[in-house]
Symmetry: C2
Subunit: 268 residues, 2 copies
């Protein structure tokens, strides 16, 4: 048994060829439903094992129906292409006879190109400028209009100027994030962290309630150094009751470690 | 037989339950390989038919191996979840016994929420400012260092300030796009158009050659009105020989019609 909450609560058990199981813990809920970044983690763990490659270079998760917290889930995996440098695989996560989410991902090895650091054409996105964590506001101080069990598992601190719903002046949220039990961050955790901030649309709305993710794409760009992760999420595009939110995550050295984009539903 | 090149050259033939076939035409090549946006179009056509929903709300394409131009391809489809408002499905595209690309997508109906247009919280991205098409440079005047058969099929005109490789001052490309035979644009064509501009990394590199897409995500946000489409693509993140390029497409009314993001390989 691992000693960290995240590892215990995303553990998978082999259940035959191409099959494993997990239990979705209610501690990661947004309202009554497991957080999307959490719900796909056991599937990504299964795909890491299946591909034998450590780093999720590209992850696409399609949320089909709400997952059920407190219930066992079966994960069915398929290795689509095994390569030396990168492998692509998918996972279907089922509960009670219905598929809940479908995950398609390419895994590889980051940092294996020794010349990359010296590449004169290297480009990056400078980290967001934040007051120190102790001057930021915990996520549960940001009134989303819904119960946030997940704040027992991730410690999210929001920039004070962006922490009052409807008062940011723009659809943006930024802040710090780490595991509540101080588990070290790793590449899989970045996928979780890309979906663990309050919805950025709260910057211009008083309340948003549950903003369910329809589709989440994450590109992990670098293995993070230990410490806090900082993140910035922005919605620039809301139409037809659906929004596109872009996110960036940096590690404590200021390196860009992940990009995210999600299509989400605004229910009003 | 349809009268437009695009329809003829992405046509699918039913070949049994969950199977159809297409032929990838060399007219859409980048170098010796079918363009990625083109290669997934027959699969998206099959998924449109399978889901019975017209609009690709979210599309994720994972490119496993180069497709073979001039060769038949078999497309195997799976309806993952059929819903009243949205349906998710996937397609595997095979040639010569090997899967070439895997497509996962959610289809629905855009513009069905009558209140959306009046939504006070609606957000959008203003269109890129461009000189008229006749003052822009055709794509084949942009020296990518590779043969571009695709310019026989799409008419792409690049902003003059962004059309000389290595001289834009930033990794950005912007311009106009339409079908060469003036076929009207539709939602599927937006996926193609999201991958038909020169790589934006050419803004800061003399030559880029073939920049193969590993993964492409497109969100279609609105049905386009007839006329030219404008697009802007930017790379802000290049590390480890891989880049993330973000794109936006607008229709002639100035409405944002699609967003794109791709992970691509820079081979140097």
């Amino acid at each position: 048994m691992a000693s960290w909450q995240y590892d215990n609560e995303t553990a998978i058990t082999e259940a035959g060829p191409g099959r494993c199981s997990t239990v979705l813990d209610p501690a990661w809920n947004i309202g009554a439903t497991p957080n999307g970044g959490y719900a796909c983690t056991a599937a990504l763990r299964a795909l890491t094992r299946l591909t034998g490659q450590p780093d999720p270079l590209a992850v696409s998760v399609y949320y089909l129906r709400p997952s059920q917290s407190g219930e066992e889930a079966e994960i069915r995996t398929e290795l689509i292409r095994a390569g030396r440098r990168a492998s692509t695989a998918q996972a279907s996560t089922w509960q009670a006879g219905r598929e809940r989410l479908r995950t398609l991902a390419t895994f590889g090895q980051l940092g294996s190109d020794a010349s990359a650091a010296a590449d004169p054409a290297a480009l990056s996105i400078p980290p967001v400028n934040l007051p120190p964590p102790e001057e930021c506001h915990p996520r549960d101080a940001v009134e989303q209009g819904i119960e946030l069990a997940i704040t027992s598992r991730v410690d999210v601190r929001i920039h004070p100027a962006l922490s009052v719903p409807g008062k940011a002046g723009r659809a943006e949220v930024a802040g710090w994030i780490r595991f509540a039990d101080h588990r070290p961050v790793d590449v899989l955790a970045l996928v979780l962290f890309a979906d663990a901030f309050p919805p950025s649309i709260l910057g211009i709305l008083d309340q948003a309630g549950w903003v369910p993710t329809l589709e989440l794409t994450v590109h992990v760009r670098r293995r993070p150094v230990p410490g806090w992760i900082t993140g910035r999420f922005r919605t620039r595009d809301l139409a037809d009751g659906m929004l596109v939110e872009d996110g960036e995550l940096w590690d404590q050295s200021g390196a860009l470690v992940a990009r995210s984009r999600q299509l989400a539903l605004l229910r009003r």
